[in-house]
Amino acid sequence: MSKSRNLSAVALLLALTGPAQADRFGLGRPALPEEVAAWNVDVAPDGVGLPEGSGSVEDGEEIFSANCAICHGEFAEGVGNYPKLAGGDGTLDRDDPLKTVGSYWPYLSTVWDYVHRSMPFGAAQVLTVDEVYAITAYILYSNDLVDDDFVLSNENFLEVAMPNADGFIVDDRETTELPRFSQPPCMTDCKPEVKITMRAAVLDVTPDEGH
């Protein structure tokens, strides 16, 4: 009896002196600076994470043509089902808006970061820092956002204005939808008549073999 009381007193003392310490298991090992540097390459909208470097529209055109155009087109206009990276200005409030870097993307950092880490598709992470600056400059140029003599660098990066920077709002379903969709549901005589307005078999786009 007294023994277990002593034990819980010790536990209580431990909990009072340092819960954070007590929660640690001592597993894993400290990450080395070289390791963090190798993986911690994401770039934030305020430019944090952006390495020193620069690249011109002119160089970008050539690099883009060699590495990207086969899927995204010479002018970043897209090939087949591959994403279009340019165009679509003014289409966001129309049917089938065309969302591209120029018409939709709110931050230039996202372009730099994504191209740097994830493209070219199938051979990611082969581009040098300067090449990524040049490609980013070229994508801006393809969207008529900079002139053909433009050079993008870590210095002027934050000066580039993205047309749809203010086009986003934070999820507002809590006020615009939840009150409306949290009413007791109708159970009988919910509508005067029911008509079929559209049929998938009429617009049959279901895969035939399915694979």
């Binding site: 954070a20 929660d23 298991f25 597993l27 894993g28 090992r29 400290p30 990450a31 963090v36 993986w39 911690n40 994401d42 934030a44 305020d46 087949g80 089902n81 591959y82 966001l92 409030d93 049917d95 808006p97 939709y104 993307w105 709110p106 950092s109 996202t110 970061d113 994504y114 598709f121 199938g122 990611a124 992470q125 086009g167 986003f168 709002i169 999820d171 507002d172 379903r173 615009t176 409306r180 969709f181 949290s182 009413q183 549901p185 109708c186 159970m187 009988t188 005589d189 509508k191 008549e193 008509k195 079929i196 559209m198 049929r199 617009l203 049959d204 786009v205 895969p207 399915g210 694979h211």
Partner: protein, 420 residues
């Protein structure tokens, strides 16, 4: 003519119709002739079956060969950054077997041995840490069952009925029991600094898919999982380690999880700006729409799972789920939403997990416009597609949780339709 897998054939219908019709006498089945399956000795009753070890790791029996994931070729440029769909029309219960649980990759499913797996925690922490897979196995473990729904599930249906099958309209979902370590445990091991407000999580594959998650959610219920349904994660679901973000859109459930960075702000990666944002009719777009709202679908009868037995007892069944908590009730309508009856939940709803519902009816053989409507514990009621469109317009790609209608005809075939 070969039978098309997954879809009922004309011949299949005729056969089924004949059998059903022939046997239907005065509300019950009466045998006309002795059934040879009973009166004649069958080979399986006389000879050996397979010995143990014939299939050291079993696959479903050949007769179930059409219960498989399928993709829709025209949706994506190739199968490397693409998606396929779980065969929900043919499953029952709530657990999705890993082998047919839908896949979504942005740069293909990679081959990452456990021994080569590393997880880094860095950013605003007291000690940036690296864990091996073996390290992760030494932390206290928990088990939870969660659904994962792609935000684009039913996305092809925004402008109207398109794809003819529950697998294609609602199959970007799976539900598994995960075993793993709470992300909170790992973050506490590194020691989150007070300035930390977000985490950025990233995968090891070439897409380096990364998403920002508020620290509150990370510390609440995010799970670093390495087992699903009792066994190792499948390669296509992130072997050896993936993140679970309960109730939130599937894209955030980073596969091949390699890094968790504590930050002050959202990174605004491509997957949270260019994609997974919802454009409204006026051209502005919602971002950070992480929660998956309550939703349901009747999985059978449905276009790929027609009624083949004629009038009489009919099991109507489906799935319901909510990212805001447990499913509390599901109603079913046979008449396109004019009247509703409450279905039976197979088990009490579980938070952020699939619920199975049943409505057992005596079908009179007439046409039905079948709908299901889910309610969750917060009182949210699954809206109609038109109610969603009134608020969001037609150009959203993601988060379509509107009520689905199947038009079941007198012959038992079903079709994806929209009703007034």
């Amino acid at each position: 003519m070969t039978d098309r897998p997954g879809a009922p054939t004309r011949r299949g219908f005729l056969k089924a119709g004949l059998a059903g019709g022939g046997a239907l006498v005065a509300g019950g089945a009466v045998a006309q002739e002795p059934d040879p399956l009973i009166t004649e000795k069958q080979p399986w009753a006389q000879m050996w079956g397979d010995g143990v070890d014939v299939t050291p790791y079993g696959m479903p029996i050949e007769y179930e060969a059409d219960v498989i994931r399928r993709n829709v070729g025209w949706l994506t440029a190739d199968t490397i950054s693409s998606v396929n769909f779980s065969p929900i029309h043919a499953l029952d219960g709530t657990i999705t077997p890993q082998g047919c649980a839908f896949e979504r990759h942005h740069s293909g499913a990679i081959d990452l041995p456990k021994e080569d797996y590393r997880l880094m925690i860095n950013g605003l922490v007291e000690t940036p840490l690296v864990f091996t897979y073996a390290d992760l196995e030494r932390f206290p473990r928990v088990n939870h069952t969660y659904f994962l729904e792609c935000a684009a599930n039913s996305g092809m249906e925004w402008a109207g009925a398109q794809l003819n099958g529950a697998q294609f309209t609602h199959g970007m979902i799976h539900n598994m029991e995960y075993s793993g370590v709470p992300l909170r445990t790992l973050l506490e091991e590194a020691g989150v600094k007070p300035e930390g407000k977000w985490i950025y999580v990233e995968g090891a594959d070439a897409s380096s898919n990364g998403r920002s998650i508020p620290l509150d959610k990370a510390l609440d219920d995010c799970l670093v999982a390495f087992k699903a349904n009792g066994e190792a994660l499948r390669k296509e679901h992130g072997y050896p380690v993936r993140l679970c973000v309960p109730g939130w859109e599937g894209n955030m459930w980073i596969k091949w999880l390699r890094r968790v960075e504590v930050t002050t702000e959202a990174v605004q990666s491509r997957e949270e700006t260019s994609k997974y944002t919802d454009t409204l009719a006026d051209g502005t777009s919602r971002k950070w729409t992480w929660v998956m709202d309550a939703k349901s679908v009747i999985t059978s009868p449905s276009p790929q799972s027609p009624i083949t037995h004629g009038p009489g007892p009919l099991v109507i069944t489906g799935l319901a789920w909510s990212g805001r908590g447990a499913i509390s009730r599901v109603d079913v309508s046979l008449d396109g939403g004019t009247s509703w009856q409450t279905a039976r939940l197979a088990q009490p709803g579980q938070k952020m997990a699939l619920s199975r519902f049943y409505l057992d009816i005596d079908w009179d053989g007439s046409e039905m416009l079948l709908q299901s409507r889910a309610m969750d514990e917060t009182g949210y009621v699954q809206p109609t597609k038109n109610a969603l469109r009134e608020i969001r317009g037609l150009n959203s790609i993601y988060h379509n949780n509107g009520i689905q209608t199947w038009w079941v005809k007198a012959n038992g075939e079903a079709e994806n339709v929209e009703v007034s």
